[in-house]
């Protein structure tokens, strides 16, 4: 369906110049240029999850770059002009992004708005380039091969087909990038930044990369935009243009790349239509902005996922079939897991000591359970171990190396993987894609656009992880359609795929039915063949069955550590669970 629409669009675009007049050609050229801007914005908004309210600044930067490099009375070579607009915008995007990407959510929206407005003011209020009235580019770029004028942006048809090609190229480039290893991480960040970070990716670098790529293409759009009429104006930087670009993205459907292109087309047609008295009547045409307003409002209320949402009603496939009973995985080769030890580890929150002087060692290739009443500090402890929180005091050694206080993604790269109390996977991805992303964490640099070098290794890791987690049969099912238990299994599979040799699992059995519980307990036992496993769990039957050692945490202190039998006999532990008051009091908080 989508492919058909896109092919039809391209076909129409190819032959359109033969049927419409010069105005139609120019109009369509402009729509295509805006579409480049919009599709690059979607890469930022829909793919990476960064909502920029200043994307038009790259339109302006590209346009003014062309202005600055164009000699007064002759054409600049397109061979120079096009790369120049892209590079200039990319450099600015890197500088601005380095600051902007620090902010999150709404604050990111506002920072990008602020940068856009600053650039607008700079070009509007100063004389660097013609001031508020804008400036002319007298001769737009050309490209000569010898004496032959191969490409002339001043020629409408030349420019038309060049812009069409640029749009298709931009779309395909972004599509390719989105589907490349880098894109996989960016989409991961969009859906669940914490998870991606915990897998060992430095999300800041990835977000910055996305900002630069989008900015560079925005610059391309700007250069082409300035070529249409040879006129640049500071208003190109302004928040209205940025706002309109967002409108088109949302109108078309975020995160689909092609949707925003349709959004740009629809928006242009709507605008033309609503202001034509012959088409809609004098009253509406006279108040066309109001009509446009109502159309936008209506679309938000009726089609929240944009045009793309209408085109692919059943996006994401059918709900999963009944769970398939996984066959027993083939036995894997034993491998050493990692060893973890803490010494006097503590963490305070204001007056509350959530973790209080915990000294404990977790031997390799064992399953270690941590139990304790709610509020005992279990989750805080594993947040310390995995680097989500820095400890207030104490040390953590992973295979003898000190890791206390390191950032989470750095610790993750040392082979420590963790799951979360709430299932923390990428719901829109398939099971296989989730694991693929995790496997990629073994080589987490952001300039990895091709899997080629690592494909074999990582594919093997994915297959192994799916097998170990009993999810081989579910590889192509979207994570959102898995049962709760399977989602928890998937999270474990991701950790395995990421190459972690020490797994920290926060309540992996919570919310599971009895059969699922049994299945995951077996999985945990099996994992110890080539991993060290640390888990928090409340299901006592399960944890006593699964664990080799148990650590009991109460009020932030480790009150017991030993085999399940030793713990079962421990009086202090009984007190913590069976209604007799313990000796310690909880610090009021």
């Amino acid at each position: 369906m989508v492919l058909a629409v896109l092919i039809a669009l391209i076909a129409i675009a190819l032959v359109l110049p033969f049927f419409v007049g010069t105005y139609g050609i120019k109009f369509t050229t402009r729509v295509m240029v805006i579409a480049i801007l919009v599709v690059s914005l979607d890469f930022l908004i829909g793919v990476t999850g960064l909502v920029s309210f200043g994307h038009a600044m790259f339109l302006g930067l590209g346009a003014y770059t062309l202005y600055f490099i164009s000699p007064k009375s002759e054409a600049v070579s397109a061979l120079i002009a096009i790369p120049a607009t892209i590079v200039a915008a990319a450099i600015c995007a890197a500088a601005i992004g380095a600051i902007a990407v620090l902010a999150r959510g709404f604050y990111f929206i506002m920072v990008t708005l602020a940068f856009g407005q600053m650039l607008f003011s700079l070009f509007h209020d100063t004389d660097v380039a013609g001031g508020s009235d804008g400036a002319y580019i007298n001769v737009v770029p050309q490209f000569h091969i010898g004496d032959w004028l191969a490409l002339d942006f001043g020629n409408r048809l030349n420019l038309y087909y060049f812009c069409l090609a640029a749009l298709i190229a931009s779309y395909l480039f972004l599509l390719w990038l989105t589907r490349s290893p880098v894109g996989r991480v960016l989409q991961g960040i969009c859906h669940n930044e914490a998870r991606v970070s915990a897998l060992g990716f430095n999300t800041y670098n990835y977000k910055l990369l996305s900002f630069v790529v989008a900015g560079a293409l925005g610059g391309l759009a700007g250069g082409l935009f300035a070529s249409i009429d040879g006129y640049v104006t500071p208003d190109l930087f302004g928040w209205r243009e940025s706002g309109l670009a967002i409108m088109m993205v949302v109108l078309g459907g975020t995160g689909t790349l092609y949707g925003p292109i349709l959004g740009a087309v629809l928006f242009a047609i709507l605008e033309e239509l609503l202001r034509s008295p012959a088409m809609v009547g004098a009253t509406i045409a006279d108040h066309w902005l109001m009509a446009l307003g109502f159309v936008l409002i209506g679309l938000v209320l009726v089609a929240p996922r944009g045009i793309a949402g209408l085109l692919e009603r059943d996006r994401g496939g059918k709900p999963a079939a009944e769970p398939v009973e996984a066959k027993a995985p083939p036995a894997r080769q034993p491998q050493p897991g990692k060893e973890l030890a803490t010494e006097e580890l503590s963490r305070r929150f204001g007056g509350l000591v959530a973790v209080n002087g915990v000294t404990v060692g977790f031997q390799r290739n064992r399953v270690h359970g941590i139990i304790g009443p709610n509020g005992a500090g279990k989750t805080t402890l594993i947040n310390l171990l995995s680097g989500v929180l820095p400890p207030t005091a104490g040390s953590i050694r992973l295979d003898g190396e000190e890791i206390a206080g390191q950032r989470d993604f750095l610790i993750a790269r040392r082979g420590l993987g963790r799951s979360y109390q709430r299932t923390n996977i990428l719901l829109p991805f398939t099971v296989g894609e989730n694991c693929r992303l995790a496997a990629q964490a073994r080589h987490p640099h952001p300039w990895r656009v091709s899997d080629a070098a690592y494909r074999q290794n990582e594919e093997a890791a994915v297959v192994n992880a799916l097998q170990a987690a009993g999810l081989t049969a579910r590889r192509h099912v979207r994570a959102a359609h898995l049962s709760h238990g399977e989602q928890r299994q998937l999270e474990i599979a991701m950790l395995i795929a990421s190459g972690a040799r020490l797994l920290i699992l926060d309540e992996p059995l919570a919310g599971m039915g009895p059969e699922e519980t049994a299945r995951v307990v077996a999985l945990l036992r099996d994992l110890a063949v080539d991993h060290t496993v640390i888990l928090i769990e409340h299901d006592m039957d399960a944890i006593f069955a699964a664990a080799d050692t148990l650590s009991v945490l109460v009020e932030g202190k480790l009150i017991a550590h030993g085999t399940p039998d030793e713990i079962r006999r421990d009086l202090a532990v009984r007190a913590a669970y069976l209604g007799q008051y313990g000796d310690s009091e909880k610090v009021p908080g």
């Binding site: 359109l16 049927f19 419409v20 007049g21 010069t22 105005y23 139609g24 120019k26 109009f27 369509t28 402009r30 003011s121 509007h124 209020d125 013609g130 001031g131 508020s132 009235d133 804008g134 002319y136 249409i228 009429d229 040879g230 006129y231 104006t233 208003d235 190109l236 209205r240 243009e241 033309e272 239509l273 202001r275 034509s276 008295p277 012959a278 088409m279 004098a282 009253t283 045409a285 006279d286 066309w288 902005l289």
Partner: protein
């Protein structure tokens, strides 16, 4: 002068050109209509946003003129094709293209915003279509960017500034602070002013520039008060002008430091500023009470037709049609004879409500300038400060 009614005004629909409405505005697949066609006049003006009142006044006057001539000029029926430019420069080229290539208009008119006008004029030059600018004052339009087919019936920013500089020097003012928005038009108004004012021995103590469209003027007023010049020369327009004039009055600066400016400081906002505008002196190429027959007839006709008084923008629109009529007549009603049309228009000379009107070599009006003082809600004519005053047209390579 425009009478503005307080409160909820009657809903006013823009009058749509009858036959022009039949033209499809969709860019795609337009069948060519080959009939005995009326002359199509493309009108690119703001109908929404800050400049909407100006667009409206110009449109009204143009339509009134054609209506008075029975709907045709030089024997050819006139059809207007109107487009709202929203005063948005990024849209300028697109909308101009739409008129010229999409609607295939014969003549182009517009617009108010200089940025849009510059975008428009670029395409107009490339297309060679006869173009009449009824307001936008960017100097370049009739200086470096002048063209045979581009005419202006309003003014060049610098021209008004120059005239005001002379008038202020003649009034015995020596030390001045200028005050404007930091944007192209503001700069041009101030530069023109400073040129002539300094030539006459005056001294500009400081240029205060406020970011456009910021209307927080208290800081500027505080600075003016601390500098204590003989007078202030200020250029603002629309809502900003209302606010500046009122703030100036509220700061009680008017008594010791008279406020001067180009006419746009007070035109169209007379009733909005009320008594607080009393005493503001401005120089412009028009005043309501210019004493000539054309002005009286024009004012009466406009008042009768629209129940509102015309302003300088209406005059500029009116003259755009006078100019067009002269051109069309010379071309025998055939708008396709662009050379004849252009030649006749550039040599045109007629009586405008503002006084005698002709065009300079750069196709910018050569016209009288008037000193006016705002009093009782009216810009009252004090005297004519310059007759047949021309913009230098620096950089224009056209010869007369």
């Amino acid at each position: 002068m425009t009478v503005t009614s307080r409160g909820v005004s009657r809903r006013r629909l823009l009058q749509l050109a009858g036959a022009g409405a039949a033209v499809s505005a969709l860019p795609l697949a337009r069948p060519a209509i080959a009939q005995a066609k009326p002359v199509k006049v493309g009108v690119l003006l703001p109908y929404t946003g800050t400049y909407a009142p100006l667009g409206e006044a110009i449109t009204r006057a143009m339509e009134l003129y054609v209506k008075q001539k029975g709907g045709s000029l030089a024997g050819r029926q006139i059809t207007f094709v109107k487009l709202d430019d929203e005063s948005a420069p990024p849209k300028g080229p697109e909308l101009t293209t739409k008129l010229v290539q999409g609607e295939k208009v014969d003549i182009l008119t517009g617009t108010v915003h200089s940025g849009v006008a510059l975008a428009m004029s670029k395409i107009a030059r490339e297309e060679g279509i006869p173009t009449i600018i009824p307001n936008a004052g960017a100097n370049d339009l009739t200086r470096t960017l002048c063209a045979r087919n581009i005419f202006r019936t309003s003014f060049a920013n610098g021209q008004v500034g120059l005239a005001t500089g002379t008038a202020m020097a003649e009034a015995g003012i020596k030390r001045v602070v200028t005050c404007t928005w930091k944007y192209a038009a503001g700069v041009e108004f101030v530069e023109g002013f400073a040129d002539n004012f300094k030539k006459a021995g005056g001294q500009v103590l400081k240029n205060i520039e406020v970011p456009f469209p910021n209307v927080e003027f208290q800081s500027a007023l505080a600075e003016i008060a601390s500098i204590k010049p003989d007078a202030v020369y200020a250029f603002y327009a629309g809502g900003g002008a209302v606010k500046f004039v009122k703030d100036y009055a509220a700061a009680r600066l008017g008594a010791s430091i008279p406020l001067w400016g180009p006419g746009f400081l007070t035109d169209g906002i007379e009733s909005a500023v009320g008594k607080e505008g009393d005493g503001v002196k401005t120089v412009l190429h028009y005043a309501d009470d210019v004493d000539n027959a054309e002005n009286k007839a024009f004012r009466k006709a406009f008042q009768d037709a629209y129940k509102a008084a015309p302003d300088v923008y209406a005059v500029q629109g009116w003259d755009a049609m006078q100019l067009l009529e002269i051109g069309l007549t010379a071309a025998g009603g055939d708008a396709a004879k662009r050379d004849a049309l252009n030649a006749a228009m550039s040599k045109a000379s007629f009586n405008s409500p503002r006084g005698p009107f002709r065009l300079s070599a750069a196709n910018n009006p050569v016209q009288n300038f008037y000193l006016r003082e705002l009093k009782d809600g009216k810009n009252q004519l004090i005297r004519t400060t310059a007759t047949a005053f021309s913009d230098p047209g620096t950089g224009c390579k056209l010869s007369a």
